[in-house]
Symmetry: C2
Subunit: 200 residues, 2 copies
DNA sequence: ACCTATCGGACAGTAGCACTATCCAACGAG
DNA sequence: CTCGTTGGATAGTGCTACTGTCCGATAGGT
């Protein structure tokens, strides 16, 4: 299909599609002449993905470029898959410090694989930011939060293991992480009201 | 203290403090003359709060205004407290539809208080966005996510109940929701690697 | 063959946000 | 008395995600 048809199918203006082509988040179509290109079903899916990430995931175009590059590149081994996926995702600032409290927490939970990585640094930063804003966050509470998220992560991993190919697993992990985050946060707020009602 | 001292103490430039005054997220100081005002410890705390919300919570100035207005207004009854807090928080778009699936889920979990509210609508939107992006999200998985977040919410509610005054509880809920969200998401990523390592 | 509506591509412009810079008259400490 | 600082107003900056305009080439109908 031509770019105007792609625009019609996806509901995204032609100009915006051109912008996505320029930014490298949408691969070029198969050129049929110097001024024509042919787009397929894969392009429709990609556009839907980009729109979902921008509108509901709040992901920037630059970060989306990392994500689609990861999705397009030859999938790594199962072992490295999560690392690649997490590196493509936004919010990971390498090189930061890991607090002793976070290191202890991870060790006590048996998660020793990433005690020094950027994820632990990100957690340290998030905890520090919460405390700076005046939130009291005792280690015991942090641990209970961690165990709650372990339950969520178990679902994540089961879904990812269900994937038939490594490429599919990568896609599942990246998308599942970005797009399910808002679902979890919405559930948290609802659960607060639910739990509060149960106890009041 | 004067505005320049407030800037020095908080590390925020004077110009930015003026901007916060204009935007109504920082209350004016006590005027000592037509060109002087006096700021106190409450202002220092407020500036730290605003910075934390902007930098680490990703909250816009407009939403911060809602939050601080909620914090400043006379606290409601315990019963309405969560509703007020959630209404002040960003990401709540009223008037949207609630899917049957979400309504069923909430009912099966016993959370009947907000089956029709904006929170359920937000959850519906988040689930729809995830599916639109290509994430398969079976009702059974959604339910497991919900139960994981119930565990997190139980911590939230316990912390809030520990507050001595209603104003303190409101502050705890609002801040705890906004600032702990990134902590939970960081924990989720780490837990994914941990769980994956356990099973691999 | 001709004509007109796209097409792809390049470049600049827009809107919104979170600041940031410049001015100005009015203080107020030395 | 003077000179730096203050509060206040107005305008500008840099960033991001588009959006508008223009251009030459071409596809498709006649």
């Amino acid at each position: 299909m031509r770019i105007s048809e792609l625009a019609e199918v996806t509901g995204v203006p032609v100009h915006t599609l051109k912008f996505y082509l320029r930014e490298g988040v949408l691969p070029p179509g198969a050129a049929t002449s110097r001024t024509r290109a042919d787009y397929g079903e894969a392009h429709v899916e990609r556009v839907r993905l980009v729109r979902a990430l921008v509108e509901h995931g709040g992901v920037s175009i630059g970060d989306i470029r990392s994500i689609v590059e990861a999705l397009d590149s030859p999938p790594p081994s199962r072992h490295e898959l999560l690392g690649v996926a997490h590196r493509a995702l936004p919010g990971v600032t390498a090189g930061a410090e890991v607090s002793a409290e976070v290191a202890d927490l991870l060790e006590s939970l048996g998660w020793t694989t990433c005690t020094d990585g950027p994820l632990a640094a990100g957690l340290t930063a998030a905890v520090a930011a919460a405390r700076a804003a005046g939130v009291e966050l005792a280690p015991a509470e942090l641990r209970r939060y961690a165990e709650a998220m372990r339950a969520a992560a178990e679902v994540d991993v089961e879904v990812a293991l269900r994937a038939t190919s490594a490429a599919d697993a990568l896609r599942t992990v990246v998308l599942g992480t970005v797009m399910v985050d808002p679902v979890l946060l919405a559930l948290r707020r609802i659960a607060q009201e639910g739990v509060s009602a149960e106890r009041g």
